[in-house]
Amino acid sequence: MRYQQVVDEAELLTALSDPAAAILSGGTDLLVKIRGGVAAPETLLDIGRIPTLSGIRESNGSIEIGAATTETEILASSIVQETLPVLTTALAGLGSIQIRNRGTLGGNLANASPAADSAIPLLLYDAELDLVGPNGPRTVPLDGFFLGPGKTALEPGDYIRTIRVPIPEPGWCPFYHKVGKRRALTIAIASVGALIRIEGDRIVGVRFAAGSVAPTPIRLHAVEERIRSNALTEEVVDEARRLAMESVSPIDDVRATADYRRCVVGDLVARALRLAP
């Protein structure tokens, strides 16, 4: 295995034309995979020192986060805390301090775990990814970026440049809950995030996202469409719970059974609605 400390994006794009090269960002997933024999890149492209891939800024009503920005840096950002509270909450529960000091937002997304903690808030906030590849730059919505466990819309030679999150207008009620065996260093059994807007007794805006209950982190569009514009009644909460349980496709694994995960998602959707007003 070879190591290359990449200086800028032009060098990265060229180096990525080698199909046996892999991007090394924080390394908290990739280095475990390499030692476990699950990944065997010939060249590691360390992007940790590329200045244009790191940092957080506000631009045209969006928060732009460089793909190689660490989770700790994002947690420390006051603009993120103020405008994207679900992202702050979810990242605070990702891995451990040691992991968050190395792990990066782009890495968490490119890794494409069905349990990726950062994906839940970013799906809720309608994040977009600026990708760069051999055919130039393009922008894709995060909803649609994940294709399956470990699979994404990244084509050979592509890298994630920026995660772009439109700043939501004020008034959304944030919700996030991750269920696991313990608080730190746990892969979610199931997690649900929500943004809900209530005016009077009416649900005028609603978004749900869930993790560890499908091959990828997902938005629960069916639930959203069914209850949007309804009055927030117990019947609507029950309907949302039922639809949420129907719209996920969890599996049995070492962490929990599919049935349990279904119940957790239903309960968390109901809880988010009850806490909203």
Partner: protein, 156 residues
């Protein structure tokens, strides 16, 4: 490839390849064996060191990735033969049993007390979230950090 680091205040230069973890470099090349390897995959925190003041799992960092940075290990915190107040507090409260996790806990605590000199118990527990201990049941580790925090404030 060449790697240049400052370790425990001393600038040094060594050779590392793409497989060499910072953990290996510290233990094998520098003979700083205070840093322990537990799980080797970022779950246990036994290999915790500080890079530029931040606690990291040295099993998940390549030596080459750390090039140019400032690394602090358990060997770097005592003042000659005088233990650091956190080390001394671990001795006194019984925060050490088998001792294998101890260097990692102390480095995590060191980073905590730098940033938060007077932490609540909740803050202490949060700061230790990335470290596992199979002996003590954690209570005496939390006691040690509380004791050290009090003494270090007294010194200030």
């Amino acid at each position: 490839m060449k790697v240049r680091l400052t370790v425990n205040g001393r600038p040094l230069e060594g050779e590392a390849d793409a497989e060499t973890r910072l953990l290996d470099f510290l233990r094998e090349d520098l003979q700083l064996t205070g840093t322990k390897e537990g799980c080797g995959e970022g779950e246990c925190g036994a290999c915790t060191v500080l890079i530029d003041g931040q606690p990291v799992n040295s099993c998940l960092v390549l030596a080459l990735q750390a090039d140019g940075s400032d690394v602090l290990t358990i060997e770097g915190i005592a003042d000659g033969d005088t233990l650091h107040p956190i080390q001394q507090a671990f001795v006194e409260t019984g925060g050490v049993q088998c001792g294998f996790c101890t260097p990692g806990f102390i480095m995590a605590a060191y980073a905590l007390l730098k940033a938060t000199p007077n932490p609540t118990d909740e803050e202490i527990r949060s700061a230790l979230e990335g470290n596992l201990c199979r002996c003590t049941g954690y209570e005496r580790i939390v006691d040690a950090i509380r004791l050290a925090a009090g003494r270090m404030q007294g010194d200030a």
